[in-house]
């Protein structure tokens, strides 16, 4: 089938419905920020209208305040960067008291990214978010299973279907049936679909793909790793082909009946509308903008506007019509 089949001539970008459906929750736009790349939204306000975003996905939060890792915490790499922040933050209570109310007051939708050192901590963090007065402004929780599992030599949960499922089960039990839960997958695995399946069967309503790739950069001047903790997460345009591949694999597995049909949120290397459109065509119901925000905090607004034009030019009246389009025979 060629694109021509769907063409509706004369469609204007502003007529395109860019809202996104995430397992029953509707976001005003399919373009969000990525966790850890927009803090809790406040700093972006000087540059962009946070209320126009699909959602601000907040930095992954744990139970207690965390100082994060020593510095240097970043290394630039070709078309990408490594980071080793170490989930620095004020803890879930500060988030619920200070950040979520600010977002609500600004008219922004929040997706709260939760993390923990064991399944119980994940569950407790999630419980405090959904039971807080600020919960009304929270569209979904994103479960960051790419963080170190204290009980398993610090290996990340997302490396193993069993550990991933344990986390999702704990969070699902803590929040009840009605909360939308996105499991955020790591690309550093042999069998992405197997881990996705474990997450969905354990209660994930959707999947976010991808978190960063593990990388190392060495400073040839000092002859030592550039990051204080040696390894870091690789992000940015460099990883886009891996993100598109992961989204493609998840969608293909759903089409083949190997994975329950759930929405996928595409993340990785989105710096412009075409990047976002690639993820959507591969199967993403919505996209997140991460590292590109660092160079241009108005990237999500640019992506939103550009996606509307791309869809309109192709006669696609809504984001939903484009989701997974590249799989059509």
């Amino acid at each position: 089938m060629s694109a021509a089949t769907d063409v509706r001539p004369g469609l204007a970008p502003e007529d395109v419905d860019l809202s996104a459906d995430l397992a029953g929750v509707r976001l005003r736009s399919g373009v969000m920020t990525a966790s850890g790349c927009a803090a809790a939204g406040r700093e972006l306000a000087a540059f962009t209208d946070v209320a126009a975003l699909g959602a601000v996905v907040t930095k992954s939060v744990m139970l207690a305040p965390r100082s994060g890792r020593p510095t240097p915490r970043m290394a630039e790499t070709p078309a990408g960067m490594l980071n080793s922040i170490g989930l620095q933050g004020g803890g879930v209570d500060a988030l619920v008291e200070h950040d979520l109310p600010w977002l609500a007051a600004a008219g922004a939708t929040a997706v709260v990214s939760v993390a923990g050192g064991d399944p119980d901590e994940f569950g407790e963090v999630a419980r405090r978010v959904v039971t807080s007065p600020a919960a009304a402004g929270v569209a979904a929780l994103e479960v960051n299973i790419s963080c170190p599992n204290v009980a398993n030599r610090g290996l990340v949960f997302a490396c193993d279907p069993g550990s991933s499922a344990a986390v999702l089960r704990a969070v699902r039990a803590a929040v009840g049936d009605d909360v939308v839960l996105l499991a955020k997958l790591s690309p550093d695995v042999t069998d992405l679909v197997g881990i996705a399946r474990a997450c969905v069967e354990a209660g994930a309503s959707g999947l976010t793909a991808i978190n960063t790739l593990l990388g190392v950069d060495i400073d040839v001047r000092t002859m030592r790793p550039r990051l204080a903790v040696t390894t870091g997460g690789l992000s940015g345009p460099a990883v886009r082909p891996v993100a598109v591949r992961c989204v493609w694999q998840l969608r293909a597995a759903m089409l083949a009946g190997l994975l329950p049909e759930v929405p996928v949120v595409g993340t990785g290397g989105v710096a412009g509308p075409e990047d976002a459109f690639q993820l959507v065509l591969a199967g993403a119901s919505a996209v997140q903008v991460g590292t590109a925000l660092f160079a241009d905090p108005s990237t999500p607004a640019r992506v939103d506007a550009g996606l509307r034009s791309l869809l309109a030019e192709r006669g696609l009246a809504s984001l939903g019509e484009a989701v997974g389009h590249a799989h059509r025979p």
Partner: protein, 340 residues
């Protein structure tokens, strides 16, 4: 001025005792409207580009940024090379609201600064500015010593002019490795002409003695403070120099405001790459963002014991530890792998 540690903002307190003088010079815009208030992203035409010492001075047209900029703030810049994701930060060396221009002084350190320094008149530079907290100007009329190392000297002429306008006596101490690396006019007889600075006196040091006093800026700073007059030091330069300035100033009972230079991915406070261990008003240490809570910090608030300290696998002088007593410091459990 407030320093954010973890999620919740907490006040750090006013830096300079008894704020006075021109209020416009003292109100920190970030306290009013959040970080990066007044900052703009602009595709700025390069009006001129030429050598300044061993550096390149660029003048770019960015009227809104020029109107908002204050000394100590920085500009985050990109030449548009698609393989280099992150902006490069430069102190704003001067801002002329009337002409709508920003001056940047660029030292080539690697590939990114090389591209910036290679710009020619008529090229364009994408600029986000002004970013960060400026120097809080000391009370009007009180003596101030400005200290700059290498390209760190760039913004000091600008701050000197503002201070003198407020009635302060201003001494400028500039250091460099050699005469050639000094910014501005360095003809041998004209030490006073260095930087063409609107200050009361200029004191030059070079490591090799090829201009001014042979030695470090602190060799001049110590006697200058001991001679009395100035109780405020404003400095800009490499962390090792800032540390030495702080030690010398503290010994002389002077306060310091130090413009730090951490690796920054975003420059606007969203990524947490640029943190330094800083003591808050409550006496507790937090890992605080140099981009939005700095880059200018009071020297006495920085946890020098944890900054640039030799860590396993790292040469001295690079990065900062998380002090064990910092808020949220890790329990001593060995964590392996990449928590992001």
């Amino acid at each position: 001025m407030s320093v954010v540690g973890g999620g919740a903002p907490e006040p750090l307190g006013v830096v300079t005792p008894g704020a006075a003088g021109d209020p416009a010079d003292l109100v920190d815009p970030a306290d009013e409207a959040g970080p990066s208030a007044g900052a703009v992203l602009v595709d700025a035409p390069v009006l001129s580009a030429g050598p300044d010492g061993a550096c390149t001075r660029l003048v770019v047209h960015a009227p809104a940024a020029a109107a908002a900029a204050r000394p100590g703030q920085f500009a985050a810049c990109s030449t548009g090379d698609s393989g280099m994701l992150l902006r490069r930060s430069f102190s704003i060396a001067a801002a002329d609201p009337a002409a709508g221009t920003l001056d940047l002084v660029v030292a080539v350190a690697g590939a990114g600064t090389a591209r910036v320094a290679a710009l020619r008149e008529g090229d364009r530079l994408s600029v986000v500015a002004p970013l960060g907290r400026p120097y809080a100007l000391p009370p009007a009329g009180e003596g101030v010593v400005l200290v700059g190392g290498g390209y760190g000297a760039a913004p000091l002429a600008w701050v000197g002019r503002l201070l003198r306008r407020r009635g302060s006596r201003v001494d400028l101490v500039v250091g460099a490795a050699t005469r050639e690396r000094l910014l501005g006019d360095t003809t041998p007889a004209a030490d006073d002409g260095v930087l063409d600075a609107p200050v009361d006196a200029v004191h030059v040091t070079t490591d090799d003695g090829s201009a001014g006093t042979r030695g470090r800026v602190t060799d001049v700073l110590g006697p200058l403070l001991a001679a009395g007059g100035a109780r405020h030091v404003l400095a800009c330069g490499p962390m090792a120099m800032l540390r030495a300035v702080h030690v010398v100033a503290a010994a002389a009972g002077a306060s310091t405001q130090l413009a730090t230079e951490e690796s920054m991915a975003c420059g606007i406070g969203v990524c947490m790459t640029c943190v330094l261990p800083v003591v808050g008003d409550d006496g507790r240490t937090r890992m605080v963002r140099a981009c939005t809570d700095g880059p200018v910090f009071p020297g006495e608030r920085l946890r020098w014991d944890a900054i640039g300290a030799p860590a396993p696998q790292r040469p001295a002088g690079v990065g900062a530890r998380v002090p064990d007593d910092a808020v949220g410091a890790p329990a001593p459990v060995a964590a392996v792998g990449g928590a992001r």
